[in-house]
Symmetry: none
Subunit: 433 residues, 2 copies
Amino acid sequence: MRAAILSIGDELVTAGTIDSNSEWLAGQLASRAATTVQRRVVGDDRASIARAVRELADVCEALLITGGLGPTPDDLTRAALGDVLAPGRPLESDPVALQHLNRWFKNRPGEMPPSNLAQAQRPQGTRSVPNPLGTAMGIAGRLGECMIFAMPGPPHEMQTMFLDQVLPQLPLPDAGQVVLTAGVHAYGLGESMAAERLGPITARDSCPLVGITVSESIVTARIQAKGPLPKAQRELENAASVIMRQWRPYAFGRDDDSLSSAVGSLLRESDRTLATAESCTGGLLGKMLVDIAGSSAYYVGGWVTYTDALKTSCLGVPQQVLQEHGAVSEPAVCVMAEGALARSGADYSLAITGIAGPDGGSTPKPLGTVYVGLGQSRGAHVIVSIRRFEFPGDRSAIRDRAAKTALQMLRFVLLDSPASTALLWEVSASVDC
Amino acid sequence: MRAAILSIGDELVTAGTIDSNSEWLAGQLASRAATTVQRRVVGDDRASIARAVRELADVCEALLITGGLGPTPDDLTRAALGDVLAPGRPLESDPVALQHLNRWFKNRPGEMPPSNLAQAQRPQGTRSVPNPLGTAMGIAGRLGECMIFAMPGPPHEMQTMFLDQVLPQLPLPDAGQVVLTAGVHAYGLGESMAAERLGPITARDSCPLVGITVSESIVTARIQAKGPLPKAQRELENAASVIMRQWRPYAFGRDDDSLSSAVGSLLRESDRTLATAESCTGGLLGKMLVDIAGSSAYYVGGWVTYTDALKTSCLGVPQQVLQEHGAVSEPAVCVMAEGALARSGADYSLAITGIAGPDGGSTPKPLGTVYVGLGQSRGAHVIVSIRRFEFPGDRSAIRDRAAKTALQMLRFVLLDSPASTALLWEVSASVDC
């Protein structure tokens, strides 16, 4: 079934009020294997509403409308539906709806305000849909091949009406049919590279359907599988496995997984610990690690050495290194990673120093230049691998990418991925110090 | 000016992904007295996109489109715009866009993936809109009386393109009538207390209109003033001043101000420095401070002493204190704050230790128990003030409230507010150690 959702209200079309009804209805439809082809919001304008109803009825089999059924002059859904469903003919009063209104006001103080009488009206040829929770009755009608349901705006009234009255009338696919969704997340490869690795899986007519999105530098493959439950489940899992494999080693998890939860699981499994030494990220990397409940099992803590003085006093970065190479340099990040290992006793350390801006960039080290050092304690030995990046974006994006990149570098090591595995935005090959 | 907003993406039309671009654009338009007549979301379907463009261009003077400009097969905005703006004619490559792509990939490892070349294409008769932050160029065209702008989906790319490239071209209304908005932010008092302090200012028919919202524990008064520019401006500023005064000392700023920017300005003005010592917040407090550009002028850095061992080795918390009182205790936070001062040489220190959950709560120290210590270096003396809180919410909310509370405590001291100033969720009076 193809459905469309139309939300009506001046407050929804301008900013500040989230159209939660539309979101809820889309979720209800998706979980029942119906396809939402369009979501639309128009203001309290009779002609706009009528036009929207006409256009939407033309592209779907079920049109779900919310809002504009109240008693005030800016409630125009009834009149607009009349313009479309019974043009030129006046609205008529629904006797059942009138009875409901009379009962509603009977046990309440005061008389029914005359304006509420309008709520019993509906276009000729339509039906009234009961609303046990309020005065705004719904309206059910049909235009061509499209069933139309107008429901009230208050969420609890709308939801009850939809579940009890509307849903049973929708021409939904066989109840055996479900729609399952999953996301596979990757970091450190570009969107186009990610798409090329998946190849024909992402074709628009493939089954299950796979689309690629990017949010906060995380590339996500969204999988949608339809059909009878066991088949859809199998297809979903197959597609997820294939994508995880094609995106190896960049894919770090599914759905609610994050880079820090993925790294946390690997550290926990291998019984290893981690310390951090941050400059430009200012604590963001530690924050991401501590976002995960139970992180105290593997994250010991770290240093935010934002000034040169703290880099020297806390982590032992020699003043000579700072003077000759600067705080954003290979030698500096190397000592930061070593110092964090030595002073914490952890098995791994991640050190970050860079230029997050808005000032501080130069020709040899432009804005976005970040060194990430990964320290490993191997018995009496310490190995530090360093990679240099130039992250695009503003201060916030550069720091976010630096912290995520550090986590992915550690993840690669924990998985024994080749040291040569490329990472997005890297500008020089990895070196050991 | 009548505007319409079209968002494109399968993930937006089905449930689960909020269409934040549309919300942001509607806000931008509203603040410039432009009317949004419709907001529409369609999936990644070429015919649906083309139809939406045609229908919307018919009802507005400016159509703002976001999404579908990436390099993957489900990015169909370019093709659909071609169907509408140059039907039957192939897309053409834009030389400036090609140059941008070549430059973009030049300093990055590997070749440009062939799929990215599609991003330089646009319908004949349209113009390319530069995107300094990504590979997805925008497209500007016209259909009848309607200006059309297609912008990329990633919010920071879209917002920059809208503000720098699109906005200056829009036929905005006469500057004579404007809608001005401002927000006044406060932290540490409850919403109902905040409302009571404002009194009749928040009545629905007051002018300017003032509403109170709460987001991430920040209480905000949103002011909206309409009319000719000087009058609206005057009303807005008057209302903001009154609210700042009524909410003293909790109100910390307006619009884009944050607690960390407010604290940063005060530290900078008084030429003082700050160090941090974090346990349960894991670096979040440092991250908030470093969010502010130029924070190196007053934030020296700090410690993330997540384990007991690091509390002892880095900050000198005696093992006896940890054994007798625990890491979440008044004596522990006191030494953390002292240690951070002594080891950094900063003028102020903020120390946080608490139980963020989901486990670890007990009857004497329930989940959400957090001690915040504020250290002040006064010549040879060190003063540490400690407050104890029980923050409601989950792991993430508790840590966010702990970091914000620490910033507000420091702000009160920098403003010489009475030490007795109440703070939301405090469970015992402040003590000095």
